[in-house]
């Protein structure tokens, strides 16, 4: 197990540098005129242009310029310096401010998915073809069919503005209640997927040989379901949720925008819109780490859930 973790950590380093290189290259290639993008449609003075060009080495172009800027970025990164955004703020500070709220939001979303999705999935799986099963099927199909970009404003308008059940936006320093609605919206898609996955998996395992054996041994039904069936059924769900956690932390661009939560997605969106290369690369680099760690944790959980899986 220890060797497995070390090997994975070493792989993570390679993956990390590989992805930063690719992301940096993409931002570099796609960059038009970040100085003009920063100024909107206002004219940019020569002095300002010269100042920013020199500060961010924007005059280094072509393949040579790319590697010059990439290695410059990398050497700063290794010293723990993520650099400065084009508006002169330290990207480390931006991320430090953005992470806590994004993590809170992602955890609420995952909690919603686990509490409602997995529970309902287990129930639906046990009572296959019942009214409950069919009702959840219909509901999840509906949720899966509505993209967040529609769901979030609708939820905001009806639950926040019309019926005033939740605050319509969360803001920078939200309490749990303010984050609940965005968390539910964000988690609804994972909820639906987790529900479908759990249901299928539980339904399948209920028919497995070992369940029949357990039953015939005379084990109480509750124990059969909670230990034998659930444990085996959770493997695909855990995989899904692990990857989803990484997804939720990066992918809340729409939800964070609609509910005005200045998290990571919010900053990533701004970075892309203003062609702020350093900001985008900085955020994506950290996201890569989050993904890799989430995957590692999922892999380790496999071994815990299924002793047949050994990493050597």
């Amino acid at each position: 197990m220890f060797r497995f973790i070390v090997r994975r950590l070493l792989q993570m380093i390679v993956a990390f540098f590989g992805t930063t290189l690719i992301v940096y290259a993409l931002m570099f290639a796609g960059q038009g005129d970040p100085i003009q993008a920063l100024a909107g449609e206002r004219p940019v003075t020569e002095a300002q242009r010269a100042y920013l060009t020199e500060k961010y080495h924007l005059d280094a172009t072509g393949v040579g310029g790319f590697f010059y800027r990439y290695f410059d970025y990398l050497s700063n990164l290794l010293r723990g310096d993520l650099g400065e955004s084009l508006t002169g703020r330290s990207i480390g500070d931006i991320l430090a401010a953005a992470w806590p709220v994004t993590i809170k939001l992602a955890l609420i979303a995952i909690a919603v998915a686990v509490i409602f999705g997995v529970t309902a999935g287990v129930l639906a799986g046990i009572r296959r073809a019942s009214i409950f099963d069919n009702a959840t099927l219909l509901l999840t199909l509906l949720v899966l069919g509505i993209p967040t970009i529609v769901l979030a404003p609708l939820a905001q308008y009806y639950l926040g503005v019309r019926w005033q059940l939740f605050p319509p936006t969360a803001g920078a320093d939200p309490d749990f209640y303010a984050l609940l609605l965005p968390g539910i919206v964000l988690g609804s898609l994972s909820l639906a997927t987790a529900l479908r996955l759990t249901r299928t998996s539980v339904a399948e395992n209920l028919r497995a040989d070992y369940v029949r054996t357990a039953r015939s041994k005379g084990l109480p039904r509750r124990r059969v379901v909670s230990v034998h069936v659930l444990r085996n059924s959770l493997i695909p769900v855990i995989t899904f949720l692990g990857v989803e956690l990484g997804n939720l932390m990066s992918g809340a661009i729409i939800t964070e925008g609609v509910f005005n939560i200045p998290g990571v997605g919010f900053n990533l969106f701004r970075g892309i819109r203003t062609e702020d290369g350093p900001l985008v690369v900085g955020i994506v680099s950290v996201l890569v780490v989050v993904y890799l760690v989430a995957n590692l944790v999922v892999d380790i959980l496999y071994a815990v859930l299924d002793p047949r899986i050994r990493y050597e």
Binding site: G32, D33, Q36, L38, G40, E41, R42, P43, T45, E46, A47, Q48, A50, Y51, K55, T87, G88, R89, D93, I94, A97, A98, I103, K104, L107, I110, A111, V114, I115, P153, Q156, G160, V161, P167, P168, T169, G171, A172, D173, P174, D175, F176, Y177, L179, V227, R231, L234, L241, L245, G257, V258, F259, N260, P262, F269, R270, L301, V304, L305, P307
Partner: protein, 534 residues
């Protein structure tokens, strides 16, 4: 057995407990009740900077308008009057004497002196400081010496202190409306505390700017979240009617709009486009409009043979139904334009383009055919600015009314459009907009239409126009200057290098908890007028 069973269950609720621990701050959170001394909450975007000479977008300048008091403000007729200045006078329009009012102090207790203005302006004009608004100082003598990578001077030779409350500004050439320039953000003073060494700003200053205005910072700038200010009791001018302002930072206007609807936010400065059609119903009389300085127009590449004939340009102008487009596409969030300057500047006259502004398809077609206009027209625009709808509508009108083929051509970003236009590539007609820096006709006419204007991308050259403009700039009085500008504008109407289409308009709204919400010419909420109710 026991251990394994435990493990199976921990995997599942781990995330749940983590979630509860992380979020268990619980809370009060409600919007709270307000009283006459309450603070108001105003929507802004994350400011790019909060140093006066580095701030030229509306969010930053809105915050600074709370922290600083300008030398001049503008009255109903858009004429400047003194606020922090006692008087601003000049004999020859070249050397201006600025006398400051006594009694103004910075929020840290420092008395405001002439040095504070001189230091701040020098800092702003010095090119290596990379200040966004440095161009505001280009009329002051010695500005050129502060430019380039290694400027030969660190201070503007045109600024001189007379005594603690008086300084003189010498311009490199006479400018009759210099006083009108002084109302903008770039001309605020900076306290001694802002500088770590002469000409060097401390890093912390921007996080909690110290000004001499009606409000002082409450805490520091909380990036992406808010900037809070509270009333500065020692402010000698007109006191605000609220105890403080929270500038709340939004990335998406739709979120701010939802907050205004539910009284969770007091003022939204721009109603999002998708809500414009319902805003009047949603907000009733809390939905307000005021003229803004923006001018939107279509420019002709006058250097191209096919558009060199003014009659072709006039025919195109006459074939466009401005009123129809502003109503059906912009839902009256903008106003049709028939002049070359915005209604928010002194000297504005309605309908200066005359017949070219009247929608008359028959005459347009006849004129177009007589002048031999091209059979295919391209309208270029930047695809990132929401221009597609009106460009397509305009194209359809040109097709129908002139019998030409017309296509819209989207360049991905504004910068791409500018690059092509600057390189004089054949992009056909192209859209541009202009927002003024200071309220003067000159600020529209000079950069947009003079032969060496910084934003004259259409190659318009008219020696007579340049002469009238120069005469206006150095005219002995504002009134005479305006006369010259108006004469120059009349020449534009004859040549029509661009087709004025629409004036921008502020479309803003407020909650039920505030009243007297007004917007000034720089698209800022007037913080001295706004009041909290109940």
């Amino acid at each position: 057995m026991r251990v394994r069973r435990l493990a199976a269950w921990t995997a599942l609720p781990l995330a749940v407990t983590l979630g509860l621990v992380a979020c268990g701050s619980g809370g009060d959170g409600g919007s709270g009740e307000s009283d006459p001394n309450a603070a108001v909450r105003i929507e802004i975007a994350e400011p790019q900077h909060l140093v006066p000479t580095d701030t030229n977008e509306t969010s930053g300048s809105q915050v600074l308008s709370a922290l600083f008091s300008p030398l001049v403000d503008y009255d109903e007729a858009h004429k400047p009057y003194e606020v922090a200045a006692e008087s601003i006078t000049s004999e020859d329009n070249t050397t201006w004497t600025v006398k400051l009012k006594d009694g103004y102090t910075f929020h840290n207790g420092e008395a405001v002196t002439a040095d504070n203005y001189i230091d701040a302006w020098n800092y702003g004009a010095y090119a290596p400081n990379g200040q966004n608004s440095s161009f505001f100082f280009e009329k002051i003598a010695g500005y050129d010496d502060l430019q380039g990578e290694n400027p030969s001077a660190r201070t503007l030779s045109g600024l001189a202190k007379v005594d603690d409350l008086t300084f003189t500004v010498t311009l490199s050439q006479p400018y009759s409306e210099f006083k009108s320039m002084l109302g903008y953000t770039a001309f605020y003073p900076l306290p001694k505390a802002a500088f770590s060494a002469p000409g060097e700003l401390t890093e912390e200053y921007e996080q909690a700017p110290i000004g001499q205005g009606p409000f002082k910072m409450k805490g520091t700038w909380q990036h992406d979240a808010k900037v809070e200010v509270e009333r500065y009791e020692a402010y000698p001018g007109e006191q605000p009617k609220v105890a403080g302002v929270e500038f709340r930072i939004y990335q998406q206007l739709t979120a701010a709009y939802a907050d205004v609807l539910s009284d969770n936010l007091d003022v939204i400065k721009t109603i999002p486009t998708e809500n414009l059609s319902t805003a009047a119903v949603d907000l009733g009389d809390r939905f307000q409009q005021s003229p803004a300085s923006a001018l939107h127009f279509l420019s002709f590449p006058t250097f191209q043979e096919e558009f060199s004939d003014p009659d072709v340009r006039k025919a195109i102008s006459m074939a466009i139904d401005r009123d129809e487009i502003t109503t059906s596409i912009f839902k009256d969030s903008q106003q049709p334009a028939r002049s070359f300057v915005s209604p928010v500047v002194a000297g504005y006259r309605e309908n200066t383009i005359g017949a070219a502004g009247e929608f008359d398809p028959d005459r347009a077609k006849a004129l177009y055919q007589a002048a031999g206009g091209p059979s295919k027209i391209t309208l270029s625009y930047n695809g990132d600015g929401g221009h597609k709808d009106w460009i397509d509508a305009t194209c359809n009108q040109l097709k129908a009314n002139l019998g030409v083929d017309c296509v819209g051509n989207a360049e991905p970003k504004f910068a791409d459009l500018l690059t092509k236009v600057k390189a004089k590539q054949p992009v056909g007609l192209f859209r541009l907009g202009w927002v003024m820096d200071y309220p003067s006709m000159e600020n529209y006419l000079a950069p947009l239409f003079s032969s060496n204007g910084s934003s004259n991308y259409y190659g318009y050259r008219n020696a007579e126009f340049d002469r009238l403009l120069a005469e206006g700039i150095s005219a002995p009085s504002e009134e005479e200057a305006i006369q010259k500008y108006q004469a120059a504008e009349d020449l534009l109407a004859e040549d029509l290098p661009v087709v004025p289409l629409r004036y921008g308009q502020n479309n803003f709204g407020h909650s039920t908890k505030v009243k007297n919400v007004e917007m000034d010419v720089f698209d800022r909420i007037n913080l001295l007028q706004i009041e909290a109710v109940k």
